[in-house]
């Protein structure tokens, strides 16, 4: 098995390599690609020391079995189709192909079956969407989701290493802002991505469109406000839900939510600093309003659950299907 990781030196790329190792994916060949600037550095994978190579079109023609991409939408748009054309199954963490018809947008626990006989590019959803969908897909199956109002509290790591550096410099006294539109230290910023004509941000539109695509239901009404907070790792979401069919009672609702894979219920509360490094979505503060409306708080490691681990779980599903 030959695997390439593209964007290997970034926040998500590094974690992909780590999670591959943790999840005992043992490729005969593992190649790591990055921009020219990062090429030449060394990364560890188990006992192996791997030198990061510059990403080139030639490299993407090597016919890897799998390539995990996390180097931004522009890089994916240029290089992922080349890899796919050369027989590589691409798991792409960027937004480039997520809403393209025919490209599966996959959270394995929810719609992993889509990749079972699939070759080509597979899209890894947006981080905020993954953790929300993971905590709600069993509710959707059982009762149907009618409406979701969600406010996010998103960690700076979601904007990459540069963003973490910007917060850390501000913590040390810097007033400089370049990644974020305002100072993020001791502040919160209700803008992730850019604003579209409708007033929604690109991040908010991802939550709307990707939730519908993953749950395969265009009628779900998703109303997000996405907000950056001065947290390093771990996205949180305050989620209000209306269901189509009544769930009857708190106990019944909770029973259905607890069926979700890789989701853990906590009775009091969970905060993002507690979940860094975990592959679980933590649900807490479940409150019901009546038989078809409830509110809860969910928290997950955005780099792992929201990106790297989801990609590796897709890969594991592909591998499992072949055995």
């Amino acid at each position: 098995m030959r695997i390439a990781v593209v964007g290997a030196t970034g926040e998500v790329g590094r974690t992909m390599v780590k999670v591959l190792e943790e999840y005992k994916v043992v490729p005969s060949e593992l190649r790591l690609y990055a921009s020219r600037r990062s090429a030449g550095t060394t990364m560890k994978f188990g006992d192996r020391e791997i030198i990061v190579e510059e990403l080139t079109e030639e490299a993407m023609k090597k016919g890897f079995d799998y390539a995990l991409f996390s180097a931004g939408a522009d890089v994916s748009r240029r290089f992922a189709p080349i890899a796919a054309d050369h027989g590589t199954i691409v798991i792409d963490n960027s937004s480039a192909f997520r809403m393209v018809d025919g490209i599966p947008l996959v959270v394995p626990e929810v719609n992993g079956h889509l990749v079972d006989d699939y070759r080509g590019i597979i899209a890894n959803p947006n981080c905020s969407t993954i953790q929300m969908v993971l905590s709600l897909y069993t509710v959707h199956r059982e009762f149907g989701l009618r409406k979701i109002v969600v406010s996010t509290y998103q960690a700076v790591s979601g904007a990459g290493r540069k963003a973490i550096n910007e917060l850390q410099k501000q913590m040390a006294g810097s007033e400089e802002t370049s990644v974020f539109p305002r100072k993020i230290f001791l502040n919160v910023i209700p803008q992730i991505g850019s604003f579209e004509e409708s007033g929604f941000s690109t991040e908010e539109l991802k939550m709307i469109n990707e939730t519908r695509k993953i749950l395969d239901d265009p009628a779900i009404d998703v109303i997000p406000t996405t907000v950056r907070v001065p947290v390093l790792y771990g996205h949180s979401e305050a989620v209000y839900v209306e269901t189509r069919k009544p769930f009857s009672s708190y106990e019944k609702l909770r029973e259905v939510m607890e069926k979700a894979e890789h989701v853990k219920f906590v009775d009091d509360l969970v905060t993002p600093s507690e979940v860094a490094g975990s592959d679980i979505v933590y649900v807490s503060r479940l409150r019901i309003l009546d038989e078809s409306r409830f509110v809860f708080w969910n928290v997950a490691d955005n780099i792992r659950v929201g990106a790297a681990t989801n990609a590796v779980r897709i890969l594991k599903r592909l591998l499992g299907a072949k055995r």
Copy 2:
């Protein structure tokens, strides 16, 4: 005019004294009260140097014209009735009397008329409630509020000076937590107050009950999630609203929202660190979903708009009514 400020050395108390001066309230006598621990310190009011006195029952029997209380619910419960019994109009910032029948709960721009011929205790609402109600009362008058789903991003100063110190110590490396249930630095905590049987926190119940009381409409469905964030001053709220009557268009809705007093519309976005020291509620990121549903982001200085300035505005209303 003789005025007392009770809890004068706290975050809100100090700001009350400052706002009294800024708003040109010139009492012939201004007495400042605090706990025994803080008594003896000196505070400035214009040219005057005022020595803070220990709060006693005797002091509250002096028959001040007005007393502004901000020393917590227990202190208010014990001392405010004594002051009121001795002819003082009390403006109380604590939660002690807010939901008591017959006690007006006042945001002057919204229901200031309630205090015009009133003597006794007047309650100042919860900070999160004030800024939400200020940005929505004209919408309620014009179209009727059916449902509000609100997620808050609340500054640590809302929990007082001790809370600010706790965050600042954590910024300097401390792992200690005593005010907050978790570390607040580089974290967010979905708990303000304590959790009640229903799963809602006391802060969330305040937003539900106080919004209904201030807007004089028990049918408004308020669904809050209140969250502490590592911000010093300035609460933010992501607010989803359903109206009873359609507002027809973005322009019409915006026109109605812009009629609200002390509310300012901003086209792109506003963050809490920009509003510290201001007496305005800033509304931004207005997005409409259809003719009767919209979302927006509001930000205000929680110590001023959410507490001290509202109290002084109540006092100004009382003074205006007498002239």
